[in-house]
C-alpha cells in the first residue's frame, strides 16, 4: 500500500513537470508563430515577449509554490472544514499561518522553467539590460509577488462576508491575462488591468523595466502598490476575523 502511495506521488511529479512544460511550450510556440510574420507586436519584440513570458512563468511558479497551497479554495478548506479554527489557536500570526504556512516545492519547477525562458529572451535581445534594469526588475518582481499574495488574501477574505462565493476560477482566468503585455489590450481593459486588478504588475511592468531601462516613477508606484495592497489585505483579514462566526459545530 505504501508502495502504491509513493508511486502515486511519483506519477504526480511527472504530470506536474509535463504540465508545466506544455503550458509554457504552447505559450512560447504561439509567440514564435506570431513573430514569423511580424517583427513587433504592440511595440514588443520577440526577445521582449520571451522575457515577459519568462517573468510571468516565474511569478506564477512562486504563486503556485507558496500561495496557492494555502489560499486556493479557502471558503471550502479554510472555513467549512475548520482549518482556520486550528490556525487561530496557534501562537503565531493567523494571517501568516493561513496564507503562507504550506508550500508545494514541486511547483518550483515552474520557476526554473521561467528563469530559463527569461535567460533565453535576454540572450537574443538587441541590447543586454543594465544593472539598474536588473535591480528594478527584481524590485518589481518582488512587488508583483506581494500584490499577488495580497489579492489572494483579499479574495479569501470575501469568504467571511459571502461564504458561498468561490471566485478562484475567475481569479485564475484573470491571471492568464498577465502573460500578455498590457499594450496589446484595448484602453479600457488596459486601465482595468493596471489600476484595478493589477495583473500588469506581474509581468508587463517588470519586463519593461528590465529591457527598456528603469523609470523611477514606475518603480515607486510598484513598491507603493505592494505596500498598499499588503496593508489592505491585513486590514481585511482582521475585519473578517471579527465577523467570523465559525462554520463547524
Amino acid at each position: 500500500m505504501s508502495l502504491r502511495r509513493s508511486v502515486a506521488f511519483r506519477v504526480n511529479l511527472v504530470f506536474d513537470v509535463v504540465l508545466a512544460f506544455t503550458g509554457l511550450g504552447t505559450a512560447i510556440a504561439a509567440v514564435l508563430i506570431v513573430f514569423t510574420r511580424a517583427d513587433t507586436l504592440a511595440g514588443w519584440s520577440k526577445a521582449e515577449f520571451l522575457v515577459l513570458i519568462g517573468t510571468y512563468q516565474l511569478i506564477t511558479g512562486l504563486r503556485t509554490t507558496f500561495i496557492d497551497p494555502n489560499l486556493s479554495w479557502f471558503p471550502e478548506t479554510g472555513i467549512r472544514e475548520g482549518k482556520l479554527d486550528g490556525y487561530l489557536l496557534q501562537p503565531a500570526p493567523s494571517l501568516f499561518l493561513s496564507s503562507l504556512s504550506l508550500s508545494s516545492p514541486l511547483q518550483l519547477i515552474q520557476v526554473v522553467l521561467g528563469a530559463g525562458v527569461l535567460t533565453w529572451g535576454i540572450g537574443i535581445a538587441d541590447r543586454s539590460p543594465g544593472a539598474a534594469g536588473v535591480v528594478s526588475w527584481l524590485v518589481l518582481v518582488v512587488a508583483g509577488t506581494v500584490v499577488t499574495w495580497a489579492l489572494s488574501v483579499l479574495l479569501a477574505c470575501l469568504a467571511f462576508w459571502a461564504p458561498k462565493l468561490q471566485l478562484d476560477v475567475f481569479y485564475h482566468s484573470a491571471w492568464q491575462l498577465g502573460r500578455y503585455p498590457t499594450d496589446v489590450f484595448a484602453r479600457p481593459l488596459r486601465i482595468l488591468l493596471t489600476y484595478v486588478f493589477p495583473m500588469a504588475l506581474i509581468a508587463s511592468v517588470p519586463s519593461t523595466a528590465l529591457l527598456r531601462g528603469p523609470q523611477l516613477g514606475v518603480l515607486l508606484a510598484g513598491v507603493l502598490a505592494a505596500a498598499g495592497a499588503a496593508a489592505l489585505a491585513a486590514l481585511a483579514w482582521r475585519a473578517g476575523l471579527r465577523r467570523y462566526t465559525g462554520a463547524t459545530s
Partner: protein, 323 residues
Amino acid sequence: MTAAVEVENLSMSYKAPVRKGGLRAAFGSLVRREYKTVQALDEVSFTIAPGEVAGFIGPNGAGKTTTMKILSGILHPTGGAVQVLDTVPWQRRSAFLKRIAFVRGSQPVGGSQELTVMDSLEYQRLLYDVPRATFRRTLAELEALLDLEPLLERQLRALSLGERMRVGLAMALIYRPEVMFLDEPTIGLDVSAASQIREFVQEYVEQTGATVLLTSHYMADVASLCPRLILIDKGKVQYDGPLAELSARLSPYKLIRISTQGDPSPFGEVVDKADGRWVLRVPRDEVAGTTARLLQALEVVDLAVEEPPLEKVIDQAYREGLR
C-alpha cells in the same frame, strides 16, 4: 488567586437568513432577505477556579462549542466579558495561546496529514517554543500515558479515530497548557478507548494542576472526571454546582431494588419487575421509612437503594428543563 476562567454575561448572536419553503419564497428572498437572529448564548456567566475540572453539559445546539470557541479566542462574542488566565481570549496574544489548549473530539488533529506523528510534535515544539529538554521529558511522559510509542512514525492520515484522539491530546499537551478546553474528547470512541482517554485526563490534571472545561454527551465522562457541572440549554446556564446536587434536584426519587416472593407494590411505584425482582420508585425523604416497612412486611431476599441513572436524569432535564 484569581479565577482561571471568568465569564460574565457572555452573549453571542448571529443573523441567519431564513425563508419559507417553495420556489416563490426562494425568488422572494433574492429581493428582500429576511434574517432571523439566532441567540446562541444569552448572558452566560460562570467562573472556574485554577485546577478545577468542570463538566459542561447540555443538549445539541445549546451553545457549548460556541462558548469554548470564544474562550479559546477563535470567535468574537457579541456581548459580555471574558477573562481566561487574566487575558481577553480573542485578542489572541501568543503568550496567552501558549497557555491554553482546545481539543475537539470531532477533529482532534489538524495540520498536514502527510506528516508523521513525531514530525507534527516537533512542529508543535517549534511553534510553541518548548525548550528541548522539557519537550523530551514531556514526550516521555505522554508516551507512557497515551501509549504513543507505536504511533510516532505513522502518518497522521493513516491513524484510526482512537489513535487520532490520543495524538490530538499529545499534540495539545506537549506544551503543557494550564487551561484545557476539551470538546467531546470521547466522541465515537469504543468503551476501552474512551476510558483510556478519561484516565489520562485525570492523571494529567493530578500531575499538573491544570484547569479543565470538558463537554461530553457521555455521562460516564462527566461522572468520573468532573466534581462540578455546568448545564447549559438554549444559550442559558440552567445549573451550576456539584453533580450529586443536580441529580437530587432533578429527581426527587430514589430507586429501591428488591428481591422477594411477596408483592411490594403497595409500598411504592413499580418501575420494573421480573421473576421476583422488583424496582420501586420512592420519594427521596421516605426511603428510610419505606425500606423499614418493606423489611417488616415481606420476606426480603435482597434489597438495595440506588440513585436513578444519571443518563435518565439528564435526559429529563434536557426535555423538561429545571424547575
